[in-house]
């Protein structure tokens, strides 16, 4: 290394003491190529799992790109005063024996290596090679010193990459098995940093490094608080495992090594710095379904709920995210409700949603009062009894009353502190995002998952969650919106909640959200609108605001699930079957054509939904004619041969609805729909039998079809149907048989008259 004279520093270009760790976490957008690489590198899993993984990998992988960015900056590094100090220290590291090395290491530690510039400088002067060489010696003191230096230095991505390329992984792995606890802990810490790189991570997992790290976790959790060295070691190991668990292979390795249980044991320790990586690991592991089951069985959910109260924001967010992931399981969901975890979550939600609730209170105080949002309103407490009850039944009213008084007590403390901060936001509550929407996202996701179980909707209602969710519909962040809408969709099955949604202007907002493009969001919005449409008032609002047209437009969405969901929603909307509605449907440009064309879709869900919609639309004769023009008959008939049991009832309904006249019946017969339909009767499922019988009844109005029916052996099956308990089935089957029989009789009559006419000739044999 040649000695260099520092260049004359350009004035103003002094050592850029750049901001520290904040930069490290920025998620640089990946180029398409890197995303592909990521996707192929990890095995394919559940869609949700992958999405989450990608999000985590994003922020880590972005650093590979950052490496190139930072190569441009050696000049800045050179002009910092620490650079020369570091340079000198590294020289001394190589210059002497163990004593000299120790002195130099102490000097290095003083150089402020947590700054990016210094880390870069260290790399540039070749310090990393020397440090790794030191680690390969046996001198305990020097090893510890070198590890400490590396720990600070590996904060920067370039350092990590260099350490990895220089073979640092093997050295560090070796040191994890060292005798000294201090060395083990430090080595694990450094590994934790280096394994933020995916290449290093994969290498570590391949080299079977995880079991060794897991073995560091063994030991009585109770003694950890006292023994600081052991505590540091466990912390280091936990952090390393957290870094590794980002990838699926890492998670599997962790599970195999029994790491999950050991992690769980550590959940009871009160140290925040230890809890963060532990919860982080659990959070990562929860992407796997198998892990979720195990976590639930082990009962970590309760501990996680306790952590929701933690003062550390990072820990709170992590714990909430973990709970959100595992609440997909019904057992966990039940546990949350039973053990009061749901309340904690809802309180958290209330806290985070402060500005939005405030905005809605200002906009519509009556709504806020009725639904229990108002707590300590200005000008003395709002008189609870004064509230005009909007709820249909008195029972709910009293419940809400109780809740208001509880809220009066509860929300005494938390909003106060936030009030001062968010005073400026109060006016513009609509567009502002509360500082950390990550927490809000996680909480809303958890609540959504809990609401998927119908019984829990009542619990949510009792905690006045619904008005808050309605208020949150104005949030900016799409992920939060997706979760909130999802929760509202599940809750809208309950009529009261639906009313709250309606009154709070939720339906309007939902329809506006239909203009968004995110798949997940659209899926939830269409689902929510679908369940709202079951309620008459909501349906009115929806139709007034052109909701039907917007829903219809989503039938064009490339995503099949969105199509199906939209079709379902449309179907619910059309349940009213009025003249105006039919008019509206007709007026949609290209609407019916679009619907019929969806019968060509590959997705079963779409087909079922479309058939159901068609069945509703066909009630109006004009629309039916239009549909037939567009070839609905042929398409439906083609579908009849499908084996899918879930499709059959809807298909039969559709055929039954469409087949109102002999002409259409004939069309169906010609298209070959009749014979397959007969096979539908071979099932025990009453959901299929009913519409099939009705369909066959309608079809049998056309004599040709009767022949086909008879030939396909419908008669014995229909006879069976006569014995069914369902009246509709009985009637339809009976009618159908009657038609067949009539035709047969007619035929007989015609033959007898023909033979009677021909007997004078006397040669023709009569045919029976």
């Amino acid at each position: 290394m040649a000695s260099r004279r520092p260049s004359l520093a350009v004035p103003g270009r002094d050592s850029n003491q750049s901001s520290v760790d904040g930069r490290r976490r920025s998620s640089v957008r990946l180029s398409q190529g890197q995303v592909e690489e990521l996707k192929s590198a990890e095995e394919d899993g559940a869609q949700d799992g992958d999405d989450d993984q990608e999000d985590d990998e994003d922020s880590d992988e972005g650093e590979e790109e950052e490496e190139d960015l930072y190569q441009m900056d050696p000049q800045t590094a050179e002009t910092s005063p620490d650079y020369w100090q570091i340079h000198k220290m590294v020289k001394y590291l190589k210059a002497g024996n163990a004593t000299c090395t120790a002195v130099a290491l102490v000097g290095l530690k003083d150089c402020g290596l947590h700054q990016e510039v210094c880390q870069l400088a260290l790399k540039m002067v070749g310090g990393l090679e020397v440090l790794l060489n030191i680690l390969r010696t046996n001198n305990l003191r020097c090893n510890i010193g070198a590890l400490q230096v590396l720990e600070s230095a590996c904060g920067h991505v370039t350092t990590r990459a260099t350490v990895y390329k220089l073979g640092g992984l093997q050295v560090l792995q070796g040191l994890v098995g060292h005798n000294s606890v201090e060395v083990k802990g430090l080595a694990a810490s450094v590994l934790a940093q280096v394994c933020a790189l995916s290449t290093a991570r994969s290498a570590l997992i391949r080299d079977d490094g995880i079991p060794k790290l897991v073995s560091l976790l063994c030991g009585d959790p109770n003694t950890l608080c006292n023994d600081s060295e052991m505590g540091a070691a466990v912390e280091g190991a936990a952090r390393a495992l957290w870094a590794c668990s980002v990838s699926r292979a890492g998670r599997n390795a962790l599970l195999r090594a029994g790491g999950l249980e050991l992690m769980g044991r550590l959940l009871c320790i009160q140290k925040t710095s230890l809890l963060i990586p532990v919860v982080g690991v659990i959070h990562q592991c929860l992407t796997e379904t198998a892990f979720r089951e195990r976590v639930e069985q082990a009962g970590y959910t309760s501990s996680l709920v306790k952590l929701l109260h933690s003062p550390s924001k990072q820990l709170q967010v992590l714990a909430t995210k973990a709970i959100a992931r595992c609440s997909v399981l019904e057992t966990t969901s039940n546990r949350l409700v039973k053990e009061g975890g749901l309340e904690v979550l809802v309180n958290l939600l209330k806290q985070e949603a402060e500005p939005f609730t405030r905005a809605i209170i200002e906009r519509d105080p009556a709504f806020a009062r009725d639904t229990g949002l108002i707590n300590d309103a200005p000008g003395g407490g709002v008189n609870v009894s004064r509230k005009a009850s909007m709820m249909p039944d008195a029972g709910a009213a009293s419940q809400v009353q109780e809740q208001v008084s509880k809220d009066n007590g509860e929300n005494g403390e938390p909003p106060e502190g936030q009030d001062q901060d968010e005073d400026t936001d109060a006016g513009g509550g609509e567009g502002t995002t509360v500082g950390d929407s990550e927490l809000l996202e996680a909480v809303s996701e958890a609540i959504w998952h809990v609401s998927m179980v119908p019984e829990h909707v009542t619990a949510l209602k009792d905690l006045t969650t619904v008005p808050i969710l309605v208020a949150l519909l104005h949030h900016d962040d799409e992920k939060v919106l997706t979760n909130v809408v999802g929760a509202l969709g599940e809750a809208s099955c309950d009529q009261e909640c639906c009313m709250i949604l309606l009154r709070g202007g939720g339906v309007t907002t939902l329809i506006q959200l239909l203009r968004r493009t995110s798949d997940k969001l659209l899926l939830n919005v269409t689902r929510a609108l679908g369940s709202c449409a079951a309620d008459n008032d909501a349906l009115d609002a929806l139709l007034q605001q052109d909701g039907l047209r917007l829903l219809w437009s989503h039938l064009k969405n490339p995503n099949c699930r969105v199509q199906a969901s939209a079709a379902n929603a449309i179907c619910t909307c059309l349940q009213r079957e009025t003249e105006e509605l039919a008019e509206v449907v007709r007026s949609l440009v290209g609407g019916i054509e679009l619907l019929v064309s969806l019968l060509e879709s590959d997705s079963e869900a779409v087909l079922s939904a479309v058939c159901a919609a068609i069945a509703k639309i066909a009630q109006d004769p004009q629309n039916l004619a239009i549909m037939t023009d567009y070839g609905a008959v042929t398409s439906l008939s083609k579908l009849a041969v499908r084996e899918n049991d879930s499709l059959r009832p809807y298909l039969a309904e559709a055929i039954a609805a469409c087949c109102v006249s002999r002409e259409t019946g004939l069309l169906f017969g010609q298209a070959g729909a009749v014979a397959p339909l007969v096979q539908y009767l071979e099932t025990d499922d009453s959901k299929i039998r009913r519409p099939t019988c009705r369909a066959l009844h309608r079809l049998s109005l056309e004599p040709e079809n009767c022949v086909t029916l008879h030939q396909s052996g419908a008669v014995p099956l229909l006879l069976e149907m006569l014995g069914s308990e369902d009246e509709v089935v009985q009637e339809a089957a009976a009618d159908c048989l009657r038609n067949i029989r009539l035709l047969a009789l007619q035929r007989c009559k015609m033959q007898t008259t023909r033979s009677a006419r021909s007997t004078p000739r006397g040669n023709h044999s009569s045919r029976r």
Binding site: N97, V106, G107, D110, N138, S180
Partner: protein, 207 residues
């Protein structure tokens, strides 16, 4: 042949000494055997001491070993007696941090005045620089290192390192313990010795 009267497997002498050390009585006996294997020279001289240090613990710095010998010789009578040896080894092998601080400082403080002066430091660190980087002057380098060390150790800024300076600094930064030279055994050698010396020198092996 058992020399001293042994009952319970160790000698009375061992029992007496063991109270002040981190060793058990058997271990003290083994050390005593190491100290005086022939039974003829109960006073260990410098050469034998150096032999042990070099042979078993791989120490190379003659000057330092001389100083260590001085420290081991607590009553300064020119030779290391059996008790002195065992007590010294107790700190050497299993000392607590305070004991080690005490011991190291005593070694470094050549003239025994309670301070380590700049000259003493310079002298010591000079031997530490082995591969002088090209284009550098040895004296410059050593002076620089001395500066750095002083910055860290000389807390009361009086130009020299007193015992309390040293103790405080080392308590904060353990790496500084042997900052002026290796006077404690390397981890490997220490482990090796501790796990084998009982068999090698213990009374039972002599029987």
């Amino acid at each position: 042949m058992a020399k001293n009267a042994t009952y319970k497997g160790y000698s009375k002498q061992a029992e007496k000494i063991a109270k002040n050390t981190h060793f058990t009585c058997e271990e003290v006996d083994a050390l005593l055997a190491l100290h005086d294997s022939t039974g003829n020279s109960p006073r260990m001289d410098g050469n034998r001491f150096r032999d042990i240090m070099h042979g078993i613990f791989g120490m190379t710095d003659e000057v330092l070993m001389e100083c260590m010998y001085q420290v081991f010789d607590m009553d300064q009578d020119g030779a290391v007696g059996p008790e002195e040896f065992v007590v010294g080894m107790s700190v050497f092998l299993r000392g607590t941090l305070e004991e080690k601080i005490d011991y190291c400082f005593s070694v470094y403080d050549h003239n025994g005045d309670g301070y380590v002066s700049r000259d003493e430091m310079f002298h010591q660190l000079k031997t530490a620089v082995v591969n002088l980087p090209p284009g550098e002057e040895l004296d410059e380098v050593v002076k620089d290192m001395v500066e750095m060390v002083c910055r860290k150790l000389d807390i009361d800024h009086d130009g020299r390192v007193s015992f309390s300076d040293y103790a405080t600094a080392v308590a904060a930064e353990p790496l500084l313990l042997e900052v002026f030279g290796t006077v404690l055994p390397e981890n490997q050698e220490r482990e090796a010795f501790l796990s084998t010396f009982l068999e090698k020198y213990g009374l039972r092996s002599q029987m």
